[in-house]
């Protein structure tokens, strides 16, 4: 198993740092899947995660000037590593003035992802920062739980409003109740609802627009005003929104009535899918 990659472009480095910061906010521990053309950050829907799952994908050639990997075997040409997300983002944080950033899989008493950063230096001598991030190699038999989740057939698909706005609203709603209802229709309307004994609060978003694909799948005689709703834990939504520092290029929300809500974001050339299950 071998992995070695080099990153030299400042903009790519910034992007990669932003991705790792986002992942660190979304999942404490995650799986990094390395394949010849992609890098994936995966969180599988275990009970430990509260049923939340995440799939983040980026094309390696959009980031790395050099990329070499050799998977477990020729047929299974991938590497699955479990790591603490915060370690990677911390390591990349020190790379702000990097000339060159190298990542490689090493074995220093235990498997590590070694991030080696050569800093721009005023003086003649070079400065090198090295971070050894401990990782756990995930055996092949567990790979099946870490595959790309199938996008469910949504009852409603809708574009999301500005995430920052959504986040500040959800933050305030969290003070009232942990139980949030998300509902949307094919008319570009999305509501966030909190219902308690004493008070009901609803925030209405209008004119959001719906992706064209969804409308085709929906049955023709579906009332476009009809809302599809999901009851979720507000904290999970908040965690997801907190991870989005920048407004994405594209953001879609797919609701499967009373089952799951699926967020599909595109940040420049990084795609993120986040699934929050309904409260049982």
């Amino acid at each position: 198993m071998k992995f070695r990659a080099k990153l030299v472009d400042a903009a790519c480095l910034n992007n990669f740092t932003r991705v790792s910061n986002m992942i660190a906010k979304l999942a404490k521990t995650c799986t990094l899947r390395i394949s010849p053309d992609k890098l994936n950050f995966i969180l599988s829907d275990k009970v430990a995660n509260g049923g939340v799952s995440m799939w983040c994908e980026l094309e390696q050639e959009n980031f790395f000037s050099e990329f070499q990997m050799e998977g477990v075997s020729a047929e299974n040409n991938a590497i699955y590593l479990e790591l603490t997300s915060e370690n990677l983002s911390r390591a990349l944080k020190t790379a702000q003035n990097a000339r060159v950033l190298k990542i490689k899989l090493t074995n220093k008493h235990f498997p590590c992802l070694t991030v080696s950063i050569e800093l721009l230096s005023v003086s003649s001598s070079s400065r090198v920062v090295t971070h050894d991030i401990p990782v756990k190699v995930i055996p092949r038999k567990l790979w099946k739980d870490l595959q790309e989740p199938t996008v469910p057939d949504a009852d409603v698909s809708i574009y999301l409003p500005v995430l920052k706005t959504m986040k500040s609203i959800v933050e305030k709603m969290k003070n009232i109740s942990n139980h949030l209802i998300i509902e949307a229709n094919l008319n570009g309307e999305l509501n966030l609802k909190i219902e308690t004994e004493l008070v009901c609060v609803t925030t209405h978003f209008k004119d959001l627009g719906n992706p064209p694909l969804a409308s085709e799948n929906a049955s023709q005689d579906r009332n476009s005003e009809q809302m599809a709703e999901v009851h979720i834990d507000i904290r999970k939504l908040l965690q997801f929104l907190a991870g989005q520092q920048v407004n994405p290029t594209k953001a879609t929300c797919n609701i499967v009535k009373n089952k799951i809500v699926h967020f599909d974001l595109l940040h420049e050339d990084v795609s993120l899918q986040y699934f929050i299950p309904a409260l049982s």
Binding site: R90, T94, S125, R127, V128, V129, H131, D132, I133, P134
Partner: protein, 408 residues
Amino acid sequence: MERIPADWKEREGFSRRWWKWRTLGQVCEQKPARGLGLTLQVTASLSLLFLAQLSLRTVNSSRSAYACFLFAPLFFQQYQAATPGQDPLRCKILMKSFLSVFRSLVILEKTVEKCCISLNVRSSRLVVQLYCKYGVRKTHNLSFQDCESLQAVFDPAVCPHVLCAPARVLGEAVLPFPPALAEVTLGIGRGHRIILRSYQEEADSTIKAMVTEMSIGGEDFQQLQAQEGVAITFCLKEFRGLLSFAESANLSLSIYFDGPGRPAIFAIKDSLLDGHFVLATLSEPDPHPQDLRAPELQQPAPQLQAHSTPHLDDFALDDIDSYMIAMETTVGSEGSRTLPSTSLSPGFQPHCSPGSHSEEEDDTEPSTVPGTPPPKKFRSLFFGSILAPAHSPQGPSPVLAEDSEGEG
């Protein structure tokens, strides 16, 4: 009553600069510009503050870190020293009390115009008066206790290894390390590169933590006198304290060290003040010695091995207080003492007869019981060795001979 007022107004020839003090963990800011008083803030985690003439010294509770700042009278606008012939006053003050006077630096900078510190011996009070704007005067009476001098016995000159660099370089060197990191290993690698590496205790091996290493070329250092392969591990938090002060004052920081287990001396020097931090270093060798040594470092120098075997100290006393008996034994030299000439050159003036203090840095080494895992082997600094012969120091010197029999 002695008065030691401190005033920055009309400070001649002293350009504006920001001074940041961080002694063992806490930051304090002092802006001398436009007549603001001297502000000092040392961390509340240390238990004792010794005010001896113009020096502020402190030591932490585990005796593994000692700090001493010596001020030239020029640091103050007005300074009235003890009259010659009179015993210099030494007192210790609770750190918390002293800090509470200078708690909010922002407010101090904005409102305090002058600060006067004086000792009221009759009532055993250290009086700190802050003259603020609009005619407001705040007076703090801090009770103090007489005490023996707190003096760590250390001598930079006997340390075989010296590193000196602008504080900024060292500041950049510790930047990649997480703020919570307790200990760091400093070593010399191949090609005379200075290596800093986060230190993980063996006990935490179940939770594997990220290891960070910073490597800097020797060219960035003003002085580099150390063999490849030597390494010491010390408390990063305490080092950061002195470092951030040195950075804001734009000073160079020198590190004098020996091998693992021997205290490391961190020194800064200015025309007006002199600061020393003496930190204990881990006495056991790096648990994964091959990491630090290869590929960056070569095989350790022989002396590293010698120091790695802990030697039993006969004076592993429980009550450390009774052990702080290093004293200023010379009468008369104190009154006229201005700035002790702690020169950074290896030719440090011999403070006593040669040979008697080669093992000044005594340690409380807990005896290693075979079979039991040794406790974290930081050696505490003993202030003076009972075995050392009675001796009077030859002149102004922060490093003193120590006499077990009393005044020498």
